[in-house]
């Protein structure tokens, strides 16, 4: 039964490419107005899922409804920024955006007006008469974002929208995405940069090797994976003894940094005091798990299984 308040309804979807199962028996409901992050390692099935949502490819089994209709019938109401981005090199920006707007059902005049408005918002009004090949990579990225939102879509699918952008432009785009979300648009946001997802998204969908590992809102995820972690940075040459009631994880980047994952029922303050007494340290602090920790934990668990 389709829930009409869901913008995307994916039911028991399986997609295979030859002998490889890219997505397996996937169920996912994206509520209207939600900003959901699609996370997963390379080859997890994120892009395949997105391409099925966009009806660029079709599921072998199961069904997908977008905006209450078949995905194909909803194309005009979806904006899409693919991971593999490109423009017609010799085409002028105005002509390109007009072409995409016309394909999305806009009139020539409304496409032109919307393109001018969006380029103003993205601080790139001078690009309109220029050829796409004359623009920098970041500017091309902005043009492609405009192509995705030009027709005022109800659902916006952004695959790695910040790649290729400098920090200033990334912040500008992040603000625009937040603005669109505040206006009630449903946004699907795929990224490898987990702290961006953590900042922007109110829901997370985690997939690995075609299987859904996680699908919940950020608050629930934090509650579910609540854990106390003591970060320890040792003084040079010091060694860290083991502490009952904790699991030690050494940093892969810094040889003298460790994480002590505190077991339930163990006092974290007592652990921190024991650390200070047991070894010369530079710092010790307490934190909650980040999305990166949860991601790593779930994916590692999935791999070990």
């Amino acid at each position: 039964m389709t829930d009409l308040s869901n913008t995307i309804d994916i039911r028991n979807v399986t997609k295979r490419f030859g002998s490889v199962t890219a997505v397996q028996d996937l169920n996912l409901a994206v509520p209207e107005g939600c900003l959901i992050g699609f996370l997963g390692p390379n080859g997890a099935g994120k892009s395949t899922t997105i391409r099925m949502i966009m009806s660029i490819i079709y599921a072998d089994e199961g069904g997908i409804e977008v905006l209450g209709r078949s995905a194909l019938d909803s194309k005009d109401r979806i904006g899409y920024l693919p991971e593999e981005r490109g423009l017609y090199r010799r085409m002028r920006v105005r002509a390109f955006l007009r072409y995409i707007g016309r394909l999305k059902g806009m009139t020539r005049a409304s496409a032109d007006a919307s393109a001018a408005n969006w380029l103003d918002r993205l601080e790139l009004p001078e690009a309109l008469p220029r050829r796409c090949e004359e623009l920098s990579k970041g500017q091309q990225q902005k043009i492609q974002f405009v192509a995705a939102v030009l027709h005022d879509p109800d659902l916006i699918v952004l695959d790695e929208p910040f790649s290729g952008l400098d920090p200033v432009n990334a912040a500008l785009l992040s603000g625009v995405i937040q603005e669109l979300h505040d206006q009630g648009r449903t946004i699907v946001f795929s990224t490898h940069v987990l702290h961006q997802a953590e900042q922007l998204c109110d829901r997370i969908f985690l997939i690995d090797r075609g299987v859904k590992l996680l699908d919940d809102d950020i608050m629930s995820i934090r509650d579910r994976f609540r854990e106390r972690i003591v970060n320890v940075e040792l003084a040079e040459g010091a060694t860290l003894p083991s502490f009952p009631g904790t699991r030690v994880v050494a940093s892969t980047e810094h040889a003298d940094q460790y994480e002590l994952h505190v077991d339930d029922g163990v006092n974290e303050q007592a652990i921190m005091r024991s650390v200070i007494e047991a070894a010369p340290i530079r710092s010790v602090s307490l934190r909650e798990p980040s999305l990166n920790d949860i991601f790593t934990r779930l994916v590692t668990k999935g791999t070990s299984q």
Partner: protein
């Protein structure tokens, strides 16, 4: 449908409204027409007159008379074209007259040329005179050349100034040869005019008697030139249109813009728009070259060579040929990432596509032979072969055979477009190593 038209419109505009297309497909045919029409006005060759003294060394009166006759300015001839002739006869007569007129116009004026007989002892002084311009040149025919049993037809030497025009050389060479033969004939008591008339070969008209009792004159012009010309034009135009489609698909795939397009329209819609857009491009090219052909036919009063039926059939087979080529090109374009990869897949396709060209002599020689009939039903050869057969057949092809071939070609074109659509849908999203032709066939079965 509106999306298909949007895609078609973009492909059409971005191909036709480019300098390269304008130069190649619009300017070139217009230049051909202008050159054809204006050649008379703009390309008149400047032929210097041959005036002054021409020495004939040791030439007897018979040779000098024959040379004077051959070097005299030609008398103007009245036109032999009869407007009531059949079109092909009219074309033949017009072409013959045009050739005569061209020959006359490229002949130097000899009205001021004077032939002077000189003994061989004067030759050195004459050579000096040729250098300083007091003599035009000298002709020395070797002794015995006027005899009927002269070895290897005799020989002669012509001395000319280094600056002598090639038209002067040609005229003196041809006239000397002819004069020696004429003098020889007169020495034998024969009239050269009578002998020439006697050895002039007759023109022969072949008339095939049709099975229905009708008679049809066989003209090499109509039998070969028109069908072969149209088939080659059709091949060039459809191949060029298909090539544009290939390049456009490769560009969209290699620049990754394809995924944005597929988010707005289905692969089938995108392919349909591209095929339609480049069909328009091919139609513009065909129209431009047909315009040239029509102007030529009007110039040669040969418009009757083409019937309305030929035009309808030609247009039908043109559309089918384009669809078949477009299907092949779209399939290849979607499967590769750059032009180098495309070339490796184009190799086998080109072998097949070149077959209509290779079969031209076979089909025109025997339009109803086994090879012609079998090839009429093999896609993508069928439209090209049928155009050749319909036009080259001395007797009209049976209507059922034409309709059957047409229907079969339409079915095949539809099947090829469908298969290309399936391959296109999978291929445009594939990256990396290009597939083998067998793998591409497997894509057709993918869901």
């Amino acid at each position: 449908m509106s999306r298909i038209l949007t895609v078609a419109g973009r492909e059409f505009r971005h191909t036709v409204l480019t300098k390269a297309f304008f130069l190649g497909s619009v300017v070139v045919p217009i230049v051909i027409v202008l050159v054809s029409i204006g050649a008379e006005m703009f390309l008149k060759p400047t032929i210097p007159p041959m005036a002054g003294k021409l020495a004939i060394i040791d030439g007897g009166p018979a040779l000098i008379a024959a040379l004077e006759e051959n070097l005299a300015p030609p008398k103007p001839k009245t036109s032999t074209i009869d407007p009531t002739q059949r079109p092909e006869e009219l074309v033949k007569a017009a072409m013959a007259e045009a050739a005569t007129q061209t020959a006359t116009k490229t002949r130097p004026d000899t009205s001021e040329l004077r032939l002077v007989s000189q003994p061989v002892q004067e030759l050195d002084a004459i050579k000096e005179g040729i250098r300083d311009g007091s003599w035009v040149g000298a002709i020395e025919v070797s002794p015995g050349s006027l005899s009927p049993d002269a070895p290897r037809g005799g020989s002669a030497v012509i001395w000319l100034a280094p600056s002598a025009a090639s038209s002067h050389v040609d005229l003196l060479t041809g006239s000397t040869r002819q004069a020696v033969v004429d003098a020889r004939l007169r020495g034998m008591g024969m009239s050269p005019e009578v002998v020439r008339a006697a050895v002039d070969r007759p023109s022969i008209e072949t008339i095939r008697i049709g099975s229905g009792g009708g008679e049809q004159s066989e003209s090499k012009l109509t039998r070969y030139l028109v069908p072969v010309g149209f088939m080659i034009l059709m091949w060039i135009v459809t191949f060029t249109g298909g090539n544009y489609l290939l390049m456009s698909t490769i560009e969209e795939k290699s620049t990754r813009v394809i995924e944005v397009l597929l988010s707005a329209t289905s692969p089938t819609g995108l392919l349909a728009g591209k095929i339609l857009g480049f069909a328009g491009v091919s139609a513009v090219m065909l129209a431009m070259y047909l315009l040239v052909a029509i102007v030529m036919m009007i110039l040669f009063a040969a418009v009757d060579l083409i019937t309305p039926g030929d035009i309808i059939l030609g247009a039908s087979f043109f559309i089918i040929a384009y669809l078949m080529l477009a299907a092949i090109m779209a399939g290849i374009g979607s499967a590769v990432s750059d032009i180098t990869e495309a070339q490796s897949l184009m190799g086998p396709a080109m072998l097949v596509l070149m077959l209509p060209m290779l079969l031209i002599p076979v089909i025109t020689e025997d339009p109803n032979g086994t090879v012609a009939v079998v090839a009429s039903f093999i896609p993508p050869l069928s439209p090209f072969i049928m155009v050749l057969r319909v036009a080259a057949s001395p007797e009209p092809l049976a209507l059922f055979e034409v309709l059957l071939a047409l229907a079969w070609a339409i079915i095949c074109a539809g099947g090829m477009i469908w298969a290309a659509g399936r391959i296109f849908r999978v291929g445009v999203l594939m990256q990396g190593k290009p597939p083998s032709p067998l793998e591409m066939l497997r894509w057709i079965r993918y869901r």
